[in-house]
Amino acid sequence: MTPILESKAVSKHYGVYKALQDVSLQFFENEIVAIVGPNGAGKTTFVNVLTGLLKPTHGEVTFHGKSIAGVGPVKLAKLGMARAFQLVQIFPQLSVQETIIAAVISQRNLQYNFWSSVDSQAELTERALEVAAIFNLDKKMTRQASYLSQGEKKLLDIASAFALSPEVILLDEPTSGISTSEKRGIMDTLMTAAKLAGIKTMLLVEHDMELVAEYSTRIVALAEGKLLADLPPNEFFNDPELQANIIGKRVNHA
């Protein structure tokens, strides 16, 4: 089986500082991969290289076999990868509907249409409603994004990424800033959404090890820029060394 996304011996150096060293990973369809590791382990750098935001100093990053080193966010979206960040990103003055439609427009390549009203194009409004429904935002289509609750904003942020119909989606700490009681709700919604939106591979950067244990099919651990482990959850959590290294550093995580 060919990997959908792959990093081959990726290294990233900033002068003498080695943020990433020789990280080789393959990601396949139907995987939910959690990327874990302490702060400073290089997770963010790795993810930035993997999503074409940074060029690796050595090594390659490929998507469906084609190099995506440094392609940038716009090209990334066109190729079929979407990303959402830890800090909620919304369009404050746009409504829920408009936010999602913005993504749909990109996905359908309609952005040069300067004549037809967005509201009159059923293919846009209906698709937006579809996506919003997955995230329980369908009753709030006309609400301005800045007036949503924090949790709803997060869902909208992720919903708009899903609206790109990407094959691969990468989420940076999707439950950060969400109260513990709501975390599972968000994760359940994400899983359902992934299925409904036809997402082939989901990558999650996550600190909450309980969520990681429950939802991921595979765990990739980074430490000090190197790949520390690449295991399914049951093996990962039964490894005493890993427990000490990664879980041990998670002692006071709520």
Binding site: P73, L94, S106, W115, D119, Q144, L164
Partner: protein, 322 residues
Amino acid sequence: MTLKFKLIIVFCLALLCSTPWILSPYYMTLLLPAVAYSIILLGFNLLFGYTGLLSFGHAMYVALGAYTVAILTSRVGIKSMELNILGAALVCFLISIPIGLLCVRYVRIFFGMLTLAFGMLFHSILFKFYDLTGGDSGIKVIRPNLFGVDLSQMDKTNFLIGPFFYYSIGLMVILAFVMWRIVHSPLGLHLQSIRDNPRKAEYLGVKVHRFRLIAFVISAVYGGIGGALLVVPVGLADPELAYWTQSGNIVFMTIFGGFNNFFGPIIGAFAFIGLKDQIVSQTQYWRLVLGLVLILLVVFLPGGIMGLFKTKKTAARSQEIS
């Protein structure tokens, strides 16, 4: 657009068209620059209100349009207004592309500074190169033909209040209609997403630089066409049209009318010109009064005139939160 809305617009247009019979010639001559500035500001607000870029050099395109018409009518001998407008639009289109390519890479204060620099560069060129631009005396504008009809023998006031007035209104209506389609289109939505959060827009596949450029060029073209209209009644294109304080006035007028609303710029043009005229007739210290108005605007009413109506709508939108 609701029916009520459409009726209001038709009513306002009807009112505007009937002004030659209601207002004195003096007030009529104020309406002409108001119509021209409506077009200019509609274009400016595409860049500012919808795309989030504040240019402090927009007057440059107004001047470009004005000088194009001046040169075409008095030096090249092209008297067709339609060709002149096309010329003004084309010149602005061509010149705004390289300038825009440069400027849209920068945001906020750097964008403002770059546009101001280009504006003043153009002003310098106009001022200094006497042979080409007439220096500080400017270039004359000869009365053009409207739809091929030579009206040069007509009395000036009658021409301006009559055929030229309706011509201007017609042009304004067409350009406003086009702008309406643009801002409500997918392209318009992408522009607004760039305004609200350029980084997120990128991740949603929006080509931020390219679309900023598109907005920049469209706004420049509108500026040029407005400049073309502006300069016919005056009969002269002069370098002060491009001075940076003119660019400041453009921003002032747009904010005055309300930059968050499609019709704000149009309201702003009429209201500002009307207000300024009233103030100037009362005192020689009109800058002081206008300055105070701007201060009050910025501090207390940043949404401008249309902002007074918007607060109701926003409250309704936020009412849905429970």
